[in-house]
């Protein structure tokens, strides 16, 4: 049966000695954290590493949580830091393990084209400055609100919006640079 307690109640219980409640917190948030990490790193194995690091950090730092924000927001901030740390260690600018497996051939089929497009976007995202990539990943891919992004990053909402806008423009520029002949614009 699902545990109906709020995240804050579970965390209180965890800090009070019932450490099994952390497993429930993980169950609630692991998918979102993993998806975020995957979008930030572009690689499944790296995303799993970052997810694990994020939850380990949260587990150990739970005492420092001040209950003045949503637990998920606090966890996102930790996860972002884990992703940054991992990317710095990996210094990943080249192909990811998944990209090496895919080896897209643009001349073959629509399926390969979509894989190629996904890889291009992933690579281009990786080349954005950290704060732009964060903002674009969280807002455009993660569906996280401006308010929450502001809480996660510590930046004012206006700055968040500006980063999203500039991040998108840089991303488009990088994609055009890769394949200037591609027409990716869709009519809406």
């Amino acid at each position: 049966m699902a545990d109906a307690r709020s995240d804050h109640d579970l965390l209180h219980s965890f800090l009070g000695g019932d450490q099994t409640t952390f497993a429930e917190l993980m169950r609630r948030h692991e998918d979102k954290i993993f998806a975020l990490a995957y979008r930030m790193t572009g690689d499944r194995a790296d995303a799993l590493d970052a997810t694990q690091d994020a939850f380990i950090s949260a587990f150990k730092q739970a005492k420092s949580f001040r209950f003045d924000s949503a637990f998920g927001t606090w966890l996102y901030r930790i996860a972002m830091n884990s992703c940054h740390d991992l990317l710095r260690k990996r210094k990943r600018w080249g192909p990811t393990s998944e990209e090496n497996q895919d080896k897209p051939d643009r001349s073959v089929s629509a399926v390969d084209d979509s894989v190629a497009a996904r890889i291009d976007v992933t690579r281009a995202l990786a080349q954005l400055p950290d704060e732009y990539r964060e903002a674009v990943v969280m807002y455009d891919l993660g569906g996280i609100s401006y308010d929450e992004i502001s809480g996660i990053t510590g930046a004012p909402i206006g700055t968040v919006k500006s980063r999203i806008s500039r991040g998108r423009r840089q991303l488009a520029g990088l994609l055009e640079h890769r394949d200037p002949s591609s027409e990716s614009e869709r009519t809406t």
Partner: protein, 310 residues
């Protein structure tokens, strides 16, 4: 004439615009703006490209279990490696990449026994509980067939174990126990170590036996347990095998687990002897515990090397 739409506002509306969530009037205003704004058109291109990335494949059950295990066994800082741990190199298991961690044997014993994760000295229901510091200081990596001060359960002395082993491999098969005692984390760990008789088990079977006996042992445990527990045994064991193919189930038990005062659950405990090698003894042991019916939630995990008592 309507005032042209604010540039910043259009930027904020673009994601809803490509999802078709704007009213026709608003969408038309956005399109009008886009026709004359290079920056916003560029942003739209980026958003269209981002649409191609899609969602990552969801976490598999294996990945979730690995995450839980890696996180929930981190409560105690790792002590310095003992000579025994240095002699037995830790082998990271890469179920999905370098993220899947096995703690060093000595470190894990100290971590689990000194572990506050699954209990903070709550009412143990009469179970014997050694002091946490005593357990944390335990230097030995031996899982002993003879347990001091054992309470309940079945345990084999070295002599009895030798006799059983001599009687034939069938005499030392997997065992199932229904425990009615209530355990906290430390009590559960001691119960599991006692009940496993892993020294005897590991002396009886080798790596070459795993492929032929593994499924049979799971079925024996499941049949003996019966009911809902049987399915949990099969499911949880299968999860373990995916991570550690060289594991042979030695033991199963259903017990009452009380990680904190007032919060009880029935748990399934499974013990395995295993090796990462293709041949040779099953020189390592692991003990898992999950809530009955829920193999996603790892409540307890410990790993150790098995060394016969001198």
């Amino acid at each position: 004439m309507k005032e042209a739409m604010d540039h910043d506002l259009v930027s904020e509306l673009l994601d809803r615009h490509i999802r078709g969530e704007l009213t026709p009037e608003l969408a038309a205003e956005v399109e009008t703006h886009l026709a004359g704004c290079a920056d916003c058109s560029t942003e739209l291109k980026a958003l269209n490209a981002l649409e191609t990335t899609g969602e990552p494949a969801p976490l598999t059950e294996l990945e979730r279990a690995g995450l839980r295990r890696a996180v929930l066994t981190q409560a105690v800082p790792l002590p310095d490696a003992s000579p025994a741990a240095a002699a037995t190199p830790t082998e990271p298991s890469r179920a999905g990449g370098g993220w899947y961690q096995f703690l060093g044997a000595a470190a894990l014993i100290a971590a689990v026994l000194g572990f506050a994760y699954l209990g903070f000295g709550g009412d143990t229901g009469g179970n014997d509980t050694a002091a946490t510091s005593e357990s944390a200081d335990e230097p030995s990596l031996q899982m002993e067939a003879q347990e001091e001060g054992a309470e309940g359960g079945s345990s084999l002395t070295q002599d009895a174990a030798a006799g059983s082993a001599a009687a034939g491999r069938d005499a030392v098969g997997p065992t199932f126990e229904q425990e009615i005692k209530r355990y906290d984390s430390e009590g559960l760990n001691r119960f599991a170590k006692r009940g496993l008789s892993l020294v005897v088990f590991s002396k009886t079977y080798v790596a070459e036996d795993v492929s032929t006996l593994r499924d049979e042992f799971v079925e024996r445990l499941a049949n003996e347990a019966g009911g809902d527990l049987a399915e949990t045994i099969r499911t949880c064991a299968a999860l373990v095998f995916t991570q550690t193919p060289g594991a042979l189930p030695a033991y199963a038990a259903e017990a009452d687990f009380e990680p904190a005062r007032g919060k009880e659950s029935r748990v399934l405990v499974l013990g395995f002897a295993f090796t990462k090698e293709e041949t040779g003894p099953l020189a390592r042991a692991m003990v898992w515990a999950w809530p009955v019916g829920d193999c996603e939630t790892v409540l307890h995990y410990t790993e150790d090397i098995i060394r016969p008592r001198k």
